[in-house]
Amino acid sequence: DKMAWLVRLAAPLRTAVRPILASTARGFRTTSVASLKLQPEANVEGKRIKYFQIYRWDPEASSKPYVATYPIDMADCGPMVLDALLKIKNEQDTTLTFRRSCREGICGSCAMNIDGVNTLACLARIDPKTPKCQIYPLPHMYVVKDLVPDMTNFYAQYKTIEPWLQVEDEASTKNKAVEADGTVKENLQNKKDREVLDGMYECILCACCSTSCPSYWWNSEAYLGPAVLMQAYRWIADSRDESKAKRIEFLDDSMKLYRCHTIMNCTKTCPKGLNPGLAIARIKQVVFSHNMS
């Protein structure tokens, strides 16, 4: 098949007048009838079974974690990994423990490592082409039970960056919309300044990025991690915030920010498509220009 394509390529270009769609129809990705079949193909008693290998650990019961395998009939299960987990918990093993809430990728509860990638279980589609799926908790996090990580350190680090609007003088009416009687109604911000926050405010603090960063694995106590750093920059870049210098000086030490070595696992793994790596680069720029001035 491929050979035929290569031969065609070497042939004289009589195909110049062919419409584009036809020429790509015989490209490397042949849409043959075979790949349109439902997968995995019926392998057990006529059913399409996929095997979910899930990390299990009950600290109350035993000291050693293990991997439990659960078969799921693909015809009888929703498309997302969370659907499979709930099906296993409902029908096969009620003791399977995991966090979940919104089932639509906005709460960040179901963050876990699925087939080696940190994502949200409710957004990760079950791959129909492979026979098994490996589900592990977020890497290098203390495990409370089964797939539930201990997020205490992560939240404590988030608290240290003071993720709220800080103004010098709350009573000041500069850049504020004021009511008729003088009370301040809202902080004004123009469109251009608001656009700076796009791509950062959408962070749901699922910890997929921080937990995918090798630098964060080796320095969880001191390095803040991409999630927290992106939020730190979200507040530095906010035009309404007045404590920019203080925030920058807080980050300017050898561990909190500068353990980032632009590995960029964070951006690759973000289930919301955000770019923490870029935000960190911007922080470094801002810190530099602050130190220069």
Binding site: P59, S63, K64, Y142, V143, V144, D150, T152
Partner: protein
């Protein structure tokens, strides 16, 4: 005084008088001491109950092997979190209820 002789006894018993305590054992003892000290800060009526709860919790797991580091660390983390909750100045008493083992009760049908 209640804190001192208790922990001294545990120290002697755990180390067998010969081997020095491992770092993990020191952490466990330190946590135990903190729990007992936390009981001192609370109102008079609650103190004995808190001490009993702490002792029971620690005694429950005293059979763990020295090598079972994962489980010991997990219990220490859990203990620290529980202690932080108790240390809140608004907490004035502590009690424990037993969860009955076995099948959960059937869900009651909704009235109204």
């Amino acid at each position: 005084a209640g804190v001192t002789w208790e922990t001294l006894l545990v120290t002697r018993w755990m180390s067998g008088g010969r081997r020095p305590l491992s770092g993990l054992q020191k952490q466990v003892l330190s946590l135990y001491r903190q729990c007992l000290r936390a009981a001192r800060e609370k109102p008079e009526e609650a103190r004995e109950q808190m001490r009993q709860v702490a002792k029971a919790e620690f005694r429950k797991h005293q059979g763990l092997a020295r090598s079972d580091v994962a489980r010991i660390e997990y219990l220490i983390r859990r203990g620290k979190k529980q202690l932080d909750r108790v240390l809140d100045p608004n907490v004035y008493s502590l009690s424990v209820s037993a969860i009955p083992k076995g099948a959960p009760p059937p869900p009651s049908s909704p009235e109204s």
